[in-house]
């Protein structure tokens, strides 16, 4: 059993600054940051630099990039599900243009997309 006392003794405060509320809404176009910092990251490399659309807001979760090293993961980070067009993720994608891939991305990996839409909105496949 994990007692609260043990946790507070071991976990160090986060090195991240708080991000109150949520910055993006469902349907917003976003770009995943194209960065390759060392460490434990839950943002797959293949999606970095790609543009997608916010599919849903999952809520705030302890930051896994900090939890992995014994920090307490606070402040929690807002987690989104982001939808991408396969043709945009993989330029040589063999399937039809309608195919989609979705995954969870923490807010600090997201930036607003600019320019013309390259990704289907959340209503395309219902």
């Amino acid at each position: 059993m994990r007692s609260k006392r043990t946790r507070t003794r071991k976990a160090l405060p986060s090195t991240y600054t708080p991000a109150p509320g949520h910055r993006f809404n469902v349907g917003d176009r976003v770009v995943i940051k194209r960065a390759f910092p060392p460490g434990h990251r839950r943002t797959p490399c293949y999606i970095r630099g790609k543009e997608g659309v916010i599919e849903r807001i999952c809520g705030a979760f302890p930051n896994p990039e900090e939890l992995a090293y014994g920090f307490d993961g606070e402040p929690a980070k807002v987690l989104y599900r982001v939808r991408f067009n396969q043709k945009h993720v993989w330029p040589d994608y063999q399937g039809p243009a309608r195919d989609l891939i979705e995954m969870e991305i923490f807010e600090h990996w997201l930036a607003p997309a600019s320019g013309r839409a390259q990704t289907a909105g959340p209503t395309q496949s219902g």
């Binding site: 987690l79 396969q86 994608y93 399937g95 195919d99 891939i101 995954m103 969870e104 923490f106």
Partner: protein
């Protein structure tokens, strides 16, 4: 990428077996031989925890039994209910964990997103970063789910991988891949096959196999395949 170059990717060998395959062995069932470093470390840790009175051998045994005997069947029961009860289905799609709790299926750690197959959309689940899997609904993940081959390929050539599982989808069906890469876990709600109108939930649960709930296959009514 060549399809079967990775020998660790063994779903073909799985499919050829005509007997029940034990995918849920607590120690990955390598043949006889000396224990690996991880097995020795795990064993030493268990003995220490027992010696300190933190856990008992019986609790560990019982936990493994739950993973093997109980968890693998929970997902089938939940989705069979969703097939027979439209209001439950709606609640499951809205909040998977709360809907499971209604059935007495407590997902301790899991935040569950149920994704619905329709005539226009087919869903399939993967974790490219490790092997995140809805264990509390489906038990331990099968070997192929954890293989590099499945994880690397199903995100970039999902239709080829699905075809290898015997699932061929027309181009007018959107393939929607879910990379289970962070805190959510996923389960697919497949399309209920025709010819099952009068079936009970128990009968329906029989055809809701693990692979249909991950989305690599689709349930078939017997005699139709």
């Amino acid at each position: 990428m060549s399809a079967m170059s990775d020998t660790a990717f063994d779903y073909y060998s799985h499919r050829k077996h005509d007997h029940e395959h034990d995918d849920h062995a607590p120690v990955a069932g390598e043949a006889e031989g000396p224990p690996s470093d991880y097995e020795i470390m795990s064993r030493a840790m268990q003995e220490l925890l027992e010696a300190k009175g933190v856990v008992t051998a019986e609790e560990i045994r019982r936990r493994m039994e739950i993973f093997e005997e109980e968890f693998p069947y929970r997902g089938s029961r939940v989705i069979a209910r969703a097939w027979t009860d439209p209001a439950f289905r709606a609640r499951l799609l809205e909040d998977g964990k709360a809907a499971c709790a209604e059935m007495g299926v407590e997902l301790e750690a899991t935040r569950l997103i149920a994704v619905e197959n329709t005539p226009d959309v087919h869903n399939v689940i993967v974790c490219t970063l490790c092997s995140c899997y809805p264990r509390e609904l489906l038990g331990m993940p099968p070997t192929w789910y954890k293989s590099d081959n499945y994880r690397a390929r199903v995100v970039r050539e999902p239709r080829s991988v699905l075809k290898e599982f015997g699932t061929v989808l027309p181009d007018n069906v959107t393939v929607r891949v879910h990379d289970s890469n962070a805190d959510m876990r996923y389960v697919v709600v497949p399309i209920r096959p025709q010819g099952t109108k009068d079936w009970s939930e128990e009968q329906l649960a029989e055809i809701l196999t693990r692979d249909t709930l991950v989305g690599v296959t689709v349930p078939q009514a017997p005699g139709k395949a």
